[in-house]
């Protein structure tokens, strides 16, 4: 890394480079010195400082607590909602006494940057037209005007005026420096502060600097940047390698908790890293400002590597205070030094992630300490060692005992030690000497979840007893008294007697005693009562299980039934986890959920291996297994998925995957035990299998970035055993912990003391202004000016607003930290993005389908809207030719410069922030209304903004936020932010479903949806919908990305590798032609249709009943079907409905016929709407429907059908469902199109977008029908054999067996 050549050399180069760039974006004064300005390294002014608005303040109050922003609020305008300060500052002592409102500082610094840009880039042109912000205090406004006057006079040809200007500047620059310092105290973005300082230093070179001040900024230089950036980068390098294995690793001391010991490996690694960090040298050329920055970075990283309580908090806060300046230095330095700085920038990002992750993990650990029972130092270790001597049985007993203690302690804390703070919006949670502040919503969630979990617990015990009773009854009913006597004698079984009375007693106890206790907040009492009841229930359940097992050793109810009790205990674990998950940012969730069970162990071992370089897959697996062995539950695949989703509060995604994997793994364990294997063996297959596809690919990256995935809270958890000395049961508490962790009080950023919230919280959540560009805006300096320090009139430093080198990173992100906002932590979604701006262009060539880039016809392309080579309509150029960069982020709204300067970003198209076209002007304002303003996220093809612009949006408020600034409830989420009722409303409490009023019915093109197809506006939404509309629109299919090359929809797991699948050819014959019987209806085929297309006919012999006729020759070869042995499709259209009928599903029946000379299948025509009709004609209704509980429920039987017939064409192929709301308001799905069914393969295919899995649950009617089908399968198989072929029937029978087994398991676990 070396300094770039001096100006003289670069000027010549710059002239050549910019020759092709006209001064299109130059402001007044541009022209002769275009090349000169462009030759100078780019000025990269920071993002304009944004004002604080009520939404941001409200969000901060919620996320950081009121106190965190109280000081700032005192300085704000009266219009900002605030809560009373606890104690007003004494006159003359509080910050309000001497500081101006923050917004005034924002306007002051923004205004000064504009002036400096005009002076240096444009030789002073436009100085007189720079607009100042509206929130300036009189003093700040006066200061700016004085600066403006001085800078204008500095351009005067009269030497006297120039000398006068220099004197004025020297005087006012001192006041400016004071203001800059004050702005820094208030938390102005540090990159902005740094930028202003560099501008002051540059102007000082021309006009002289303030006298008598020690804070006059030094001028930057190439050597300075080389030394500075080298040191910064080396610090990043030395600090790398911190991998957060999971919250059960104790990283920091917990105040008041000597029993919480910092992991010894962490201590050792920290010491090593601190030494390396301390050893980084800084070169001698660094300016004092930069040297200070390096030292602050060093101290930040050392803090991150320290175990003292509060270190992580301090590190995070300090990082926030320097992050912006670090980014600025790296960006600015790119103009001064040769070499690629992108790696350094990447390491900065990594460091930021590490600090965030580390803080989150430490926060988790602290919360763990708060919630766990306080014990003597070493007590847990002693108990664990004791248990180990006695083997797994004792370990499990001790594990449960400790878990019960911790859970009970947690309830005690929630009940008695979670108290409202005197700070509005905050609560204190404490345990002995340890206390912590949490947000009000977290506290509310804790209470809600304590209630929920306790109720769930008692409900589980009731369920277990009821299940035992039912088993007992079924045994009694299924065996003759003589047989029972004989078997009882031979097997030694004792009849446990009837369960009737105690079941009834338990229900009474639940309803009349336990629930009231829970509801009045007596969690401790309720928990104790439950714990008292539990042994009796276990004993009775076990008695039944023994009796049952003795009667039939092959009967596997024992493991399943007993596991229910375990499930009840385990289900307590996420009590707080859900609270966190409801609101937590992803990084926090990812970190905080790795507490227990196999997930924790998996991560822990993975971390250890990564740290030590010891990569041993088998060891990884073993550790994982031991971590989960304790937690035996009884979940099957779909149930596991449900459980996982429940655990994650319906969030699904990565978090749910972890739960699902563990639940699935646990089920595998149960199954394995039941089949004579070990739990671990079974778990391995299921857990790792599940995670294999969903997690493995993510693991390395997520670990390296310090954001390990969220794993399971099943099992009491051996957790992190390999890496820590951790108690395997720590998982129980650890799992409680994540709950609250969502976001604890985060370090204030920006400034550690004042903790204001700015910078990262712009009202317009823009990433900032586009990088300044130049080329057309040179400094028209007069070299004859004999000004002091002018050096010939050209500043030696870079021009303000000069070219940003393409490929360098823009300063945008620096002003919008993704982590905790300056002054407080930031919740994704907390700060509303810039509201969609009305387009400046009146029309766009084509509308765009969100997420697709589809254009509509017939567009009327306005002038200027070109067509891109991709066939999509080009972006119309707004008036003035201004568009934003592809990041879609506009700068602050401002009127176009009066000086006529063309806004920055003009013609930059979608070049993105990092590739600003050289020659763009220094003026960084971009009209907010720029057409591509919200084109970010790649959801809209550039050039088609009208769609969004047309959509009504609340102004200034994120649609995801309600009026209070809180995230709006998601479907299934109550207004409190708490997860909604799992599984939808309880039976008997269904709201009335009614169609919308006629006036509310959606418009459609001449064909309204049928009356029974109108989706009620109040259709209850599911907390775990079958599909999410947004994902569908965004193309969010679950595509396998772990396949080399292109992602693949088809897992192909049902296809033997390399093995040929035989074709299953039907033998059924087609009925002969009955001339004239079937007549084509008057349907109007669309133009261009083939004559071989299917068409509708009426049966003249059957009252003109309609059928769809699908000619065989119109069948289309589908590779995924052929690969599975499907050839002739028409007969399968007959067999599919036959199976549907067996399951009680109404599906249009088919028959094979010949019409004319065409053989084909006739399928009953239903005059019903399909789901694809709904999607097309009423997208809102479609969304409501597919995200409804009714739809999810209706899918159960359809899933059963598709599983049995191995349908390869349903799932999100919404054209294959007809639907209607029956007169009683129930949703009815009618499956159609069964051509791609009955494969020759045995196992269910897994092709995302086309297939689904086993039903989540089995309605009673379906249970009966499946049992009946199973009994009569031989007869039924012979009925369908001609239509599906010999090779297909075995698979059908095999899948029926699987389904029956699955159904039985779910029956026993209460999910049938």
């Amino acid at each position: 890394m070396t300094a770039k050549p001096a100006n003289a050399e670069r000027q010549a180069k710059g002239k050549a480079e910019v020759a092709h760039e006209p001064a299109r974006d130059a402001g007044p004064g541009a022209g002769s010195s275009v090349a000169l300005a462009d030759a100078l390294p780019g000025w990269t002014p920071a993002d304009p400082i944004h004002h604080l608005g009520p939404p941001q303040v409200a969000a901060l109050q919620r996320s950081a607590g009121n106190h965190a922003v109280a000081d700032l609020l005192r300085l704000q305008d009266p219009g900002v909602q605030r809560t009373p300060a606890s104690a007003p500052p004494k006159p003359g002592t509080g910050p309000a006494a001497k500081l101006a409102p923050f917004n005034s500082y924002a306007d002051l610094l923004n205004g000064f940057q504009d002036l400096a840009t005009a002076l240096i880039n444009r030789g002073g042109a436009g100085l007189d037209t720079v607009h100042f912000g509206p929130d300036l205090t009189p003093a700040h406004r006066s200061l700016l005007w004085t600066i403006r006057t001085a800078l204008i006079e500095a351009q005067d040809t009269d030497p006297a005026n120039r000398h006068k200007a220099a004197g004025t500047w020297r005087a006012v620059s001192g006041r400016l420096l004071t203001a800059v310092g004050e702005a820094g105290k208030l938390g102005a973005p540090t990159d902005a502060i740094a930028s202003v300082n560099d501008q002051i230093a540059m102007i000082n070179k021309r006009l002289g600097s303030a006298r008598g001040r020690k804070d006059v900024p030094e001028a930057e230089s190439g050597e300075d940047y080389v030394d500075t950036i080298k040191a910064i980068d080396q610090l990043f390098i030395e600090s790398m390698g911190l991998l957060e294995g999971g919250p059960s690793i104790i990283r920091e001391e917990a105040p008041g908790r000597p029993d919480i010991e910092v992991n010894s490996a962490v201590v050792e690694l920290n010491a090593e890293r601190r030494a390396l960090i301390s050893g980084v040298k800084l070169g001698s050329h660094a300016t004092s400002r930069h040297a200070q920055l390096v030292e602050r970075l060093r101290s930040t990283l050392i803090l991150m590597r320290s175990e003292k309580a509060g270190s992580a908090y301090a590190a995070s806060a300090r990082w926030r205070s320097i992050e912006g300046e670090l980014r600025y230095v790296l960006q600015r330095g790119a103009h001064y030094v040769d070499g690629d700085l992108s790696e350094a920038v990447g390491r900065l990002e990594h460091t930021k992630e590490m600090i965030d992750a580390h803080y989150a993990a430490v926060h988790t650990g602290n919360l763990e300490a708060v919630l766990s029972k306080k014990r003597d130092k070493g007590e847990l270790k002693e108990r664990r060692e004791f248990a180990e001597k006695w083997g797994p049985g004792m370990q499990a007993v001790v594990a449960e005992k400790i878990a019960v203690e911790d859970v009970g302690n947690a309830f005690d804390i929630i009940q008695n030690h979670l108290v409202k703070s005197d700070r509005e919006g905050e609560w204190n949670i404490s345990n002995g000497g340890t206390s912590m502040r949490i947000r009000e919503d977290q506290a509310a969630n804790l209470h809600a979840l304590a209630q929920q979990q306790l109720k769930s617990y008692i409900a589980s015990l009731v369920t277990a007893l009821v299940a035992a009773r039912e088993d007992y009854d079924s045994i009694k009913l299924g065996n003759s008294r003589t047989k029972l006597r004989v078997l009882g004698f031979l097997g030694g079984a004792d009849d446990p007697g009837s369960f009737e009375k105690e079941t009834a007693d338990l229900i009474v106890m639940r309803d009349q005693t336990v629930k009231p206790m829970i509801e009045r907040g007596d969690y401790v009492g309720a928990f104790k009562l439950i714990m008292d009841l539990k042994p009796q229930i276990e004993k009775r359940v076990k008695a039944e299980a023994d009796y049952d097992a003795d009667l039939d050793s092959g009967y596997r109810r024992l493991a399943v039934t007993m596991s229910i009790v375990q499930v009840a205990l385990v289900s307590l674990v996420p009590i707080a986890g859900e609270a966190a998950l409801a609101t937590a940012p992803m990084w926090a969730v990812g970190l905080t959920a790795t507490a227990a069970g196999g997930g924790g162990a998996f991560i822990g071992e993975g971390t250890r291996q990564l740290v030590t370089g010891d990569h041993d897959a088998s060891r990884l697996g073993k550790t994982t297994l031991s971590g989960v062995a304790i937690g035996t539950t009884a979940f099957t695949g779909p149930a596991a998925k449900q459980f996982g989703t429940f655990m994650t509060g319906g969030s699904g995604g990565f978090a749910a995957t972890g739960f699902e994997a563990a639940a699935s793994g646990t089920f595998g364990g149960v199954q394995s035990v039941a089949q004579g294997g070990t739990f671990g063996e079974g778990f391995a297959g299921n857990f790792l299998g599940t995670m294999g596809s969903k997690f493995t690919g993510l693991l390395p990256g997520s670990l390296q970035t310090g954001v390990p995935g969220k794993i399971v809270q099943v099992g009491v958890g051996a957790g992190i055993g390999e890496l820590t000395t951790g108690d395997p049961l720590g998982g129980a508490v650890g799992a409680l912990v994540p709950s609250v962790v969502s976001k604890g009080p985060h370090p204030a950023g920006g400034h550690e003391e004042a903790a204001p919230a700015t910078g990262g919280a712009p009202t317009e959540a823009t990433a900032g202004r586009a990088p300044a560009t130049a080329g057309g805006a040179p400094a028209t300096t007069d070299s004859s000016l004999p000004l002091p320090g002018l050096g010939g009139g050209v500043p030696e430093g870079p021009a303000v607003g000069a070219t940003t080198v393409p490929g360098t990173f823009a300063p945008l992100e620096s002003a919008a930290p993704a982590g905790p906002a300056v002054g407080a932590e930031t919740t994704p979604g907390t700060f509303p993005p810039r509201p969609p701006a009305p387009p400046t262009a009146p029309a766009v060539a084509a509308e765009t389908i969100p997420g697709s880039g589809i254009q509509e016809r017939p567009p009327s392309t306005p002038a200027g809207a070109g067509t891109a080579p991709d066939g999509l309509a080009g972006r119309p150029v707004p008036a003035g030719g201004a568009t934003t960069a592809a990041d879609g982020l506009a700068n602050r709204a401002a009127a176009a410069p009066a000086d006529g300067a063309i806004p920055v970003g003009a013609a930059t198209g979608d070049a993105g922030a990092n590739s600003v076209v050289p020659g763009a002007p220094a003026d960084k304002r971009v009209p907010v209304s720029a057409a591509t303003g919200d084109a970010g996220a790649g959801s809209v093809v550039p050039g088609a903004p009208a769609d969004r612009a047309a959509a009504p949006q609340p102004t200034g408020v994120d649609p995801a936020l309600d009026a209070t600034g809180r995230p709006a409830p998601t479907p299934g989420e109550a207004a409190t932010g708490q997860p909604g009722q799992v599984g939808g409303p309880q039976p008997g409490n269904q709201p009335v479903i009614r169609p919308p009023a006629a006036a509310q019915q959606p418009r459609s093109k001449g064909r309204p949806l049928l009356p029974n197809a109108q989706v009620p506006a109040d259709l209850p939404q599911s907390s775990d919908p079958a599909y999410r509309y947004d994902k569908l629109v965004a193309g969010g299919q679950q595509i396998r990305h772990d396949i080399t090359g292109r992602p693949d929809f088809d897992a192909k797991a049902d296809l033997a590798a390399g093995g040929a699948v035989p074709t299953s050819g039907p033998t059924a014959t087609y009925a002969k032609e009955e001339a004239g019987r079937f007549q084509r209806t008057g349907e109007k085929p669309a133009a261009g249709l083939s004559k071989d297309e299917a068409y509708v006919v009426k049966d003249t012999l059957d009252g003109d009943r309609k059928y769809l006729f699908k000619p065989v020759e119109a069948e289309y070869a589908i590779p995924r079907a052929e690969a599975r042995g499907i050839d002739e499709q028409a007969p399968r259209e007959v067999a599919g409905p036959m199976v549907a009928e067996q399951l009680g599903i109404d599906a249009p029946r088919g028959k094979l016929v010949t019409i004319g000379d065409k053989q084909g299948v006739l399928i009953e025509w239903r005059e019903q709407n399909s789901l694809s009709d709904l999607a097309l004609q009423d997208p809102e209704g479609f969304k409501r429907l597919i995200e409804s509980e009714a739809f999810r429920e209706a899918l159960q039987t359809t899933d059963a059908l598709d599983y049995l017939i191995n349908n390869l064409d349903r799932a999100t192929n919404f054209g294959n469902y007809l639907y209607e709301f029956t007169p009683d308001g129930k949703l009815k799905l009618t499956p159609i199109d069964h051509a791609l069914t009955f494969t020759s393969t045995r196992e269910r295919a897994s092709i995302d977008a086309y297939t689904r899995e086993l039903p989540e649950r089995y309605p009673p009617d379906l249970v009966q029908r499946l049992e009946q089908l199973s009994k009569n399968r031989a007869e039924f198989i012979e009925k369908i054999r001609p239509f599906v072929g010999d090779a297909a029937v075995e698979g059908f029978s095999h899948r029926l067996d699987i389904m029956i087994e699955d159904m039985h398991v779910k029956q026993r676990t209460g999910r049938s």
Binding site: E847, I849, S852, G853, I854, Q855, E856, R857, P869, D870, G871, R1003, K1005, R1007, L1032, V1033, G1035, Q1037, G1045, R1046, D1048, F1049, D1050, K1052, T1081, E1083, K1084, A1086, A1087, G1088, L1089, S1090, E1093, A1094, V1096, L1108, Y1116, I1118, P1119, R1120, I1163, E1167, S1170, S1172, D1173, A1175, L1176, Q1177, P1179, K1183, D1209, T1212, N1213, F1214, G1215, N1216, L1218, D1233, D1248, A1249
Partner: protein, 91 residues
């Protein structure tokens, strides 16, 4: 140029063209025309214009041009919603 149309069959058994997807030349992204403006959002929800599987299950995007047309033809095969290649002499 190859063109695939997306069609639906309404409850009253009429067919209706919803979109036309064309690939002007090999290697170029497809051009998607929504023929019924009201249906643009619904088409996206149905996956048209997004990533879809091809015959082998691989994900195919509009940028894949003709391959996308082929994928449409194997993805949408229902009686209520289907894709069909427009034979030139029938246009």
């Amino acid at each position: 140029m190859r063109t695939v149309v997306i069609l639906r069959r309404t409850p009253d058994a009429e067919t209706e063209e919803l979109a036309r997807i064309s690939a002007s030349a090999p290697g170029t992204p497809v051009d998607i025309e929504v023929l019924v403006p009201e249906f643009r959002e619904g088409l996206a929800a149905l996956g048209i214009g997004g990533t879809i599987p091809d015959g082998s299950g691989r994900s195919i995007a509009p940028d894949d041009g003709e391959a996308y047309l082929d994928a449409l033809l194997v993805t949408y095969r229902g009686s209520r919603l289907w894709a069909r290649e427009v034979v030139p002499d029938l246009q």
